[in-house]
């Protein structure tokens, strides 16, 4: 994204090559870097070190280096399946959030009335404020066998046996999309709102249909928002554990769920740390690759 942010205006609008000199603005990264190094890298490094030790040195001085936690992961396909489920749920949730979030973001960005805008904003933000656990319980009430949907459908005589809406990946994704779609909407709204509506109008005046004007003007210009929102939702959904835990039943197993189990009931910080390192490494790779592809894709030709 950063590359997009600085490459785009520089290359698209001013043809001269990028200046290599670091600007004084770069110092502004300081506070964030300090915060992250002391309170994220350092604690996480402790975790990573624990994942290579036979025990916790805070409790037991006689620990030795071992790769057994990683060997355990590599040697059991249950864990590989969990990693794959985690990524798959992340990708599906991200795509679904984009499909659900884009129309709403567009409406919100184009809303002229102040009251209408405030109401929409409230509708988008309210789900985020329900509290993760309560919200998940609400979804359970809707989707479970004796839930709102199944009770209604059975009452109407449309189905005889409850539909399997919960205790599987479907229910998990529905609840995850609900939780994370506001992040997508608010990120997109900021970007779509900055696209000059007159551009779309101009395209239509030139004879383009509304859909075509949207596809060729608004959509490409909102790509930064799509990318930013997708990345947020992806990151959030691969690290979620309360929702898959409650919604997925026995059919869903993700890495965060395994980490939670290891921390809270197996008390194996070493293995939990190893799972964390693996999850973070894989997702950072995904994100960096994504940024890389993005930088190419949104180069001079990509957006014009």
């Amino acid at each position: 994204m950063a590359s997009l942010a600085d490459a785009l205006p520089a290359t698209r609008l001013t043809p001269r090559p990028r200046r290599p000199a670091v600007s004084p603005i770069a110092w502004l990264v300081g506070p964030a870097l300090l915060l992250f190094v002391i309170f994220f890298v350092l604690p996480f490094a402790v975790m990573a070190v624990l994942s290579l030790l036979s025990g916790n040195p805070a409790q037991n001085p006689n620990v030795y280096l071992t790769s057994r936690h990683y060997v355990r992961f590599a040697g059991d396909d249950l864990y590989w399946d969990a990693l794959w489920s985690t990524l798959r749920i992340g990708i599906v949730t991200t795509l679904a959030s984009l499909l659900v979030g884009y129309p709403l973001a567009h409406w919100m960005a184009r809303m002229k009335s102040r009251l209408g805008h405030a109401l929409l904003l409230m509708a988008v933000i309210a789900p985020m404020l329900t509290g993760i656990v309560v919200r998940t319980f609400a979804w359970m009430t809707i989707l479970q066998d004796k839930g709102v949907i199944n009770t209604t459908l059975i009452g109407l005589g449309l189905i005889e046996k409850p539909l399997p809406l919960m205790y599987n990946e479907f229910g998990t994704v529905v609840a995850l999309v609900h939780i994370y779609v506001p992040f997508m909407v608010l990120t997109l709204t900021g970007v779509i709102g900055r696209i000059d509506e007159r551009l779309e109008q101009a395209a239509r005046n030139l004879g383009a249909s509304r859909l075509r004007a949207f596809a060729e003007v608004t959509l490409p210009l909102s790509l930064p928002g799509i990318f930013a929102g997708s990345l947020l939702v992806f990151a959030l959904s691969i690290s979620a554990y309360v929702t898959p835990f409650l919604m997925g039943g026995t059919n869903v197993l993700t890495l965060p769920m395994l980490i939670y189990q290891q921390v809270s009931s197996s008390f194996n910080l070493g293995f939990a740390g190893a799972l964390g390192v693996i999850l973070l490494a894989v997702s950072l790779l995904v994100v960096i690759a994504y940024n890389h592809v993005l930088a190419r894709f949104s180069g001079p030709e990509g957006l014009t």
Binding site: T250, F267, N268, L269
Partner: protein, 350 residues
């Protein structure tokens, strides 16, 4: 001049004294009121602890109690230095005490001389299946809906009734000790004994489709809402709705119930061990036990507790009733936990 200097000296020394007093005060205060760091449950248990029992303890022993109600306790204890543990007294279920012992986080054996009330507890509370002392127990059996035409279950085998397919409730075994107890019970019922895992796995698979939850409060809700018609649950989770006109009841299978013990233990690095022992002794006092038992429907482990009739009728508070309690061998289970977790997860998935 002299007067002036005197005054200045007086002011200076008064200032110094004041400064010293300010700095010293917290130290003196600290010396007077030691802090006892404990873990405790929330809910109605926590309410009564915070409103009555802990303030009374603080008053009697001239200390302050810092009671942590935010799970998970053992990982926090694990992450704190051994010489300066985040808790002095650890209150957990029995299985976690065994894990804690393995990790060197709790004492292997309590000093019985420092807990006079131990003389009055049922033997199960300090048996070799317990690390520390069990102050209460509840009984893991079957909770069921009374309005679905179900016969009151008399055996653990009734849980496998095909009519209950998809309407029976169990626990996510890796994270819930009730689920772990149930697994051991399956080995006993369908195999050679509590340690017959192969029979237990087979029996568990036969219980599919089954709805699994991660904590007992959720099982209570599923029973109340009719999402399940029968579920593995402890008596307290069903009995606490007594008098609220809910169509649920608790059944004690003939093969026996598993004990879900509330265990207290002291951490080796505690700097206020005397106080820690005093607290454990306090929690075993008959009046304290009675109050908590009648709040959350836990069976007290002190024999001298006299419960009101409605509690007396259902809780495990006589030698004969206590004999129905089966104490799981957590040392054995924890040693195999990883293997069991993987196996069970694979078995129930898909």
């Amino acid at each position: 001049m002299t007067a002036n200097r005197l005054t200045r000296r007086a002011v200076l020394s008064a200032g110094a004294a004041a400064a010293l007093a300010t700095i010293g005060a917290p130290v003196i205060l600290h010396a007077q009121t030691a802090t006892l760091k404990i873990t405790t449950w929330g809910g109605k248990w926590g309410d009564i602890m915070k409103a009555e029992l802990l303030p009374a303890f603080e008053k009697e022993f001239k200390c302050t109690v810092s009671a942590d109600q935010a799970f998970p306790f053992v990982p926090k204890l694990q992450a704190s230095p051994k010489s300066n543990p985040v808790y002095d007294v650890l209150h957990t279920n029995s299985n976690e005490q065994w894990s804690s012992l393995d990790l060197g986080l709790v004492e292997a054996r309590l000093d019985h001389k420092k807990i006079p009330n131990l003389a009055d507890v049922y033997p199960y509370a300090i048996s070799d299946k317990i690390v520390g002392v069990s102050i209460f127990t509840s009984a893991i059996g079957l909770g069921y809906r009374t309005d679905k035409g179900l016969k009151k279950p008399t055996s653990w085998k009734d849980f496998a009734d095909p009519a209950l397919a998809g309407m029976r409730g169990g626990y996510i075994i890796p994270v819930n000790s009730l689920g772990q107890c149930h697994l051991m019970m399956l080995g006993k019922i369908y195999g050679k004994g509590f340690t017959d895992l192969d029979a237990a796995y087979k029996a568990l698979e036969a219980l599919k489709p089954i709805k699994l939850v991660d904590f007992t409060g959720q099982m209570e809700k599923m029973l109340l809402a009719g999402e399940v018609n029968m579920g593995v649950i402890h008596d307290s989770g069903v009995l606490r709705y007594e008098g609220q006109n809910q169509p649920i009841d608790f059944a004690i299978p003939s093969e026996g119930v598993m004990a879900l013990e509330q265990v207290l233990n002291v951490t080796p690095g505690s700097k206020v061990k005397e106080l820690a022992y005093a607290y454990i002794d306090y929690m075993l006092r008959p009046d304290v036990q009675k109050k908590l038992a009648e709040t959350v429907w836990y069976s007290p482990s002190n024999k001298k507790v006299k419960l009101a009739p409605k509690y007396d009728a259902r809780l495990f508070n006589t030698e004969a009733k206590v004999a129905q309690l089966i104490q799981p061998d957590w040392k054995w289970y924890n040693a195999r936990k990883d293997e069991i977790d993987t196996r069970v997860t694979r078995l129930l998935k898909g």
